[in-house]
């Protein structure tokens, strides 16, 4: 194993090293596997480590590079995925005892794309049960992932293990799922970048669903550029996903460094106000981030946040109805296989009527139209990602989420792209994230704003103390 600390490197930096022959893909994968062995017992970020297969893929990637075959930026890069994606020959649990022993026959579409891009898949990540469970310690079939910054705190969810692992250098990037913020919120709470692209941009085929009309595949990485590199590899049309869209996939690197001069940031004063239930330190960090972008040449345009606020309840209703429909049979025949909180949440969906659901979808359409109308007047909408930093496990009350503002839901309802970028730390040493959302398929502008901000700050260069 080489002397290497992957937490200090980005995908681009590692790619340069691999191509210069400083070390091989096999060396790199072995180093990541060694870190997982050493650190993950403290984090529980992995469900399955695919050691043998990862080393086989890495050897193949090494041989290809040596013979002049270069599959692009992800060639030989160790990555992992939330344990909700099918991987041929590997158990997929979705964090639930219900799926114990189940293995998919084929790779999910996004996994196939990772393989084609030459990525090395080192394992599957812990998640909240069926991406719908609580962050608590005792109600799931698997132990919860821990926040690497303060291990007695939650990493956020539901892509909890993915965020913890990326932040800790236990992989360079991860795929998660995002139905109401499940990529962006853990990214914010663990101090990494989390992108939920436009619905239809990345295929969901082979991903265990929670809500057919709200689920998205998302990406977690340590930097904005790394996120762009992974997006370039996994985006594209797939007939296996009915939401997948025929839209050209640009090279997301091209405009990353174009700056924000003249761009309009949609900011709701109500969203940067601790009177609305957002933690004052989150408000301060996000306000400072907006000021920083203004200093780089962007300007602020105030937007109304009524539709954005209403999105939380509508998102909740649609997920409740669709998740119940998906689980209708097993929640009746094998209720004991679910954790008690997920069992309760799934059953709650049965009490919604068809009219409730259809009208929630109509409200969704109207809210989405308001959000799109905002984005005719501004280039991006900026807000906190999470209203507060990571809570201690002992303080988690999952029902309290319905009393707090949600900044992420509007972009699941509308399917518009949204990204969380680190923008500071609380006084307790916990990361804070800034959300940047944009127009449909305009990930390049979202990434560009995020990278401009990232370059002005050093948040992304910090690493949790215990993993360095």
């Amino acid at each position: 194993v080489i002397e290497l600390d992957p937490t200090l490197l980005t995908i681009r930096e590692v790619g340069d090293d691999l191509r210069s022959g400083r070390y091989t893909c096999t060396d790199l994968t072995a180093a990541v596997l060694e870190r997982i062995d050493r650190i993950d017992p403290e984090l529980n970020s992995y469900v399955t480590v695919t050691r043998v297969e990862a080393l086989r893929q890495a050897a193949e990637a090494t041989a290809e590079l040596a013979s002049g075959t270069d599959r692009g930026p992800l060639h030989g890069i160790p990555v992992a995925v939330k344990d909700i994606f099918s991987i041929r020959g590997v158990p997929t649990t979705a964090g639930s005892a219900l799926l114990a022993g189940w293995q998919a026959a084929d790779d999910a579409a996004a996994i196939q794309r990772l393989r084609t891009a030459g990525a090395v898949i080192v394992g599957t990540h812990t998640l909240h049960e069926f991406a719908y469970g609580p962050a608590s310690t005792e109600r799931s079939a698997f132990p919860p992932a821990r926040n690497p910054w303060v291990r007695g705190h939650v990493p956020g969810g539901s892509s909890s293990g993915s965020a913890a692992a990326v932040a800790s250098g236990l992989c360079f990037a991860a795929l998660g799922s995002d139905t109401g913020g499940s990529v962006r919120k853990p990214a914010a709470l663990c101090g990494v970048v989390g992108l939920k692209p436009t619905r239809g941009r990345i295929s969901r085929a082979g991903m265990i669903p929670l809500s057919h009309t709200l689920d998205h595949v998302g990406i977690l990485a340590r930097t904005v550029e790394d996120c762009a590199l992974v997006l370039g590899a996994v985006a594209g049309h797939d007939p296996g996903d009915e939401a997948s869209v025929h839209a050209p996939v640009p090279d997301y690197r091209v405009s990353l460094r174009d700056g924000v001069e003249g761009l309009r940031l949609g900011v709701s004063p109500g969203w940067l106000d601790d009177q609305e239930g957002t933690h004052p330190e989150v408000v301060a960090a996000c306000q400072a981030a907006v000021d920083c972008l203004v200093g780089c040449g962007a300007r602020v345009v105030e937007i109304d946040h009524q539709a954005l606020v209403a999105a939380r309840d509508v998102n909740t209703l649609i997920v409740a109805a669709e998740a119940y429909a998906l689980h209708e049979e097993p929640i009746s025949s094998r209720p004991e296989a679910y954790g008690s909180t997920v069992r309760s949440r799934l059953r709650e969906g049965a009490f919604l009527s068809a009219a409730d659901y259809i009208k929630a979808q109509e409200a969704r359409r109207r809210i989405s139209n308001v959000v799109r109308a905002h984005l005719e007047d501004v280039d991006v909408i900026v807000s906190p990602t999470s209203p507060f930093p990571a809570e201690a496990f002992a303080d988690v009350d999952w029902r309290s989420r319905y009393r707090s503002p949600s900044f992420t839901n509007a972009f699941n309802l509308s399917g518009l792209p949204a990204l969380s970028v680190p923008c500071g730390f609380s006084s307790g040493g916990l990361p804070i994230g800034l959300q940047i959302a944009g127009r449909a398929f305009d990930e390049p502008t979202v990434l560009r704003v995020a990278l401009t901000y990232e370059q002005q700050t050093s948040w992304h260069t910090r690493h949790p103390g215990f993993v360095v």
Binding site: T213, D313, S332, I358, S414
Partner: protein, 78 residues
Amino acid sequence: MPDPAARVEPATLDDVRVLGRRLGWELTEEEALALLPGVNRNLRMALEARSWIPAEPGLGSPAGSHVRSNDADSENAR
């Protein structure tokens, strides 16, 4: 305006037990009690969501009959 046809009375423990039985659930007392707050929260949210939908002339209740589940996708693809 909330839809006057929507349910405005909160669900009761009996409602939970009755629907649970119909769906084949064997709810313990504790499970039925645990369900009630979430059920009523969802029903309140459903009522609130209707405030986004104007009344459809002649029907006296909010519109909603023209919804497709993939409306967001269609709009984004334009």
